[in-house]
């Protein structure tokens, strides 16, 4: 894959920040959008804007076709059995909350267990805290090894007949750890527990086949995979979604409305109350076309190569600590700290050189406590990043270390 020609499709990268060419290393927070996505959203608003599934006029039909066309692209992208299993949501957070509200509240009882991991993003922790509080079930955590990978012995021991839901991230947004989700799904299914996978960092970087993984729910966000903000996906197995109650009620999701009772539309629309995120869905469809053009295998290989390179180069910097597993067990994320320099100060120094990294707790406070760090800095990469970006980062980090070494 030629990252340089890919870069040209991201006009935002072609700018100076604080007098330096922008080096964007914060794609785990949100990725940039290629021209094809910007144009698809623009074309929809310019030519086809209309509400979907209503009325008979031509624009309405075009909008509906594009919106439902995007759903088919998502279905193929993750290899879902049918479009009934693909629900448009506002993002990963809303998708997880839908399951935690609907499925969890209906199926959990006192004595039941929900198990998650210490490496979850807040959006895959709090919905479960709330669900167990509401039902009297118990929340538990799998253990991690010191390198930030899951302790599979503990996973095997922990999942039992009392386990009803296992929820875990495909890829950690802090450590980059890629979890063996297929193996965990197998273990959980043996005990009749369902598995929800937080795919916010998985879907952008890895080829996802939900039938092969056999997970029950897979949630992800468009904005981290070259799509617009405000659109995401809840994939669920049809038989589970069929039995679940909607969590939002109103227009679009109903079949018949009587004075005191109503019935729901069939899947997937019963979970899509109100005017949906039409432009967002169309933008996500265009993002999927874009990623497919490059090829997910290519993207995975590119990420792996860049991560290897970044870790090798960053290790050359004395006094820089890298968190998480070896390069071959992680996705395109490197979280680190420079000894004696607070990550905010690191991020401000890098920003003054045009280099964008994230600093803070990365919406993973329990993981920060596990790492014994109050905050960390994180460089994350995607299709448009190159080894040159990493070289800039490394020289920026060296200068940052010097700068704070001198002022202290």
């Amino acid at each position: 894959m030629d990252a340089r020609s890919i870069r040209e499709q991201f006009p935002i990268l072609n700018q100076e920040v604080n007098g330096h060419p922008l080096v964007y290393l914060d794609s785990s927070a949100t990725s940039h959008k290629p021209l094809a996505v910007l144009e698809a959203v623009d074309a929809y608003y310019r030519n086809d804007n209309s509400n979907v599934h209503r009325g008979v006029h031509t624009l309405g039909t075009r909008a509906t076709d594009k919106y439902e066309g995007a759903r088919e692209k998502v279905q193929q992208f993750i290899n879902a059995r049918s479009t009934k299993e693909v629900i448009f949501t506002r993002g990963t957070t809303t998708a997880i909350n839908t399951v935690a509200h609907s499925y969890a509240r209906a199926n959990l009882e006192p004595g039941d267990e929900v198990i998650i991991t210490p490496m979850e993003h807040h959006s895959n922790i709090i919905p479960w805290q709330q669900a167990v509080k509401a039902t009297g079930a118990t929340l538990k955590y799998f253990e991690l090894h010191d390198d930030g990978t899951l302790n599979m012995e503990d996973v095997k021991k922990s999942i039992g007949p009392q386990t009803k839901i296992v929820a875990l991230t495909h890829v950690s947004n802090v450590l980059g750890t890629i979890n063996p989700i297929k193996e965990i799904v197998e273990l959980a299914h043996r005990q009749n527990a369902v598995v929800l996978v937080d795919g916010a960092q998985g879907a952008p970087h890895l080829k996802v086949d939900v039938q092969e993984i056999d997970c029950d729910f897979y949630c992800f966000s468009g904005h981290k995979m070259c799509g617009p903000t405000g659109i995401g996906i809840l994939y669920g197995k049809q038989e589970l979604l069929e039995e679940m109650e909607p969590v939002e009620f109103g227009g679009e999701m109903i079949d018949f409305v009587h004075l005191y009772d109503s019935t729901w539309k069939e899947l997937p629309w019963k979970f899509e109350g109100g005017t949906p995120i039409i432009a967002g869905a169309i933008g996500l469809g265009a993002a999927i076309d874009f990623l497919n053009q490059i090829g997910m295998d290519e993207i995975e290989a590119h990420d792996q190569k860049l991560t290897n390179y970044a870790m090798k180069r960053m290790r050359e910097i004395e006094g820089l600590e890298i968190y998480g597993p070896a390069a071959d067990k992680r996705s395109a994320v490197v979280t680190f700290n420079i000894n004696g320099v607070h990550p905010h100060d690191t991020a401000t120094a890098l920003d003054s050189m045009g280099i964008a990294v994230r600093a803070g707790h990365h919406c993973a406070q329990p993981l920060m406590r596990w790492l014994n760090a109050t905050a960390t800095a994180r460089a994350s990469m995607y299709v448009y990043n190159t080894e040159d970006d990493i070289d800039q980062l490394v020289s920026g980090l060296t200068r940052t270390k010097e700068f704070f070494g001198n002022v202290f």
């Binding site: 607070h342 905010h344 401000t348 120094a349 920003d351 600093a359 803070g360 905050a375 700068f403 002022v407």
Partner: protein, 144 residues
Amino acid sequence: MSFDNLDTLYRQVIMDHYKHPRNRGKLEGDALVVDMNNPTCGDRIQLHLEVEDGKVKDAKFDGEGCSISMSSASMMTQAVKGKRVEDALRMSELFSDMMLGKEIDSGDLELGDIEALQGVAKFPARIKCATLAWKAMEQGVEKK
């Protein structure tokens, strides 16, 4: 590549307060205690205040955070110690204005080291780090 920009932020005085914080620790007895954090980034401060007869008699802080938040806390405790509560609150207001990049007239109030934080105004992402301790102080004296 120049670091001019950074030098306006990380002044020597700031680094000195970061490395050698003044009034770090806790107050014994029935001091007012305020916990505050910056949820977007994890900076955290615990402020202890002894307020008597409308005056801030003593102030100490504990916490974790970047050089800006910790040096600002150190400077704040130094500045408000011995001040009347209304003066401490006036200083806090002056400080907020300074962070907004406004011209400020401190009048009879000595800003001292605090002025070194003026450069933060040019780094919008860091203003919350600098104001954390002042917000904690405001909340503390209002508790009284």
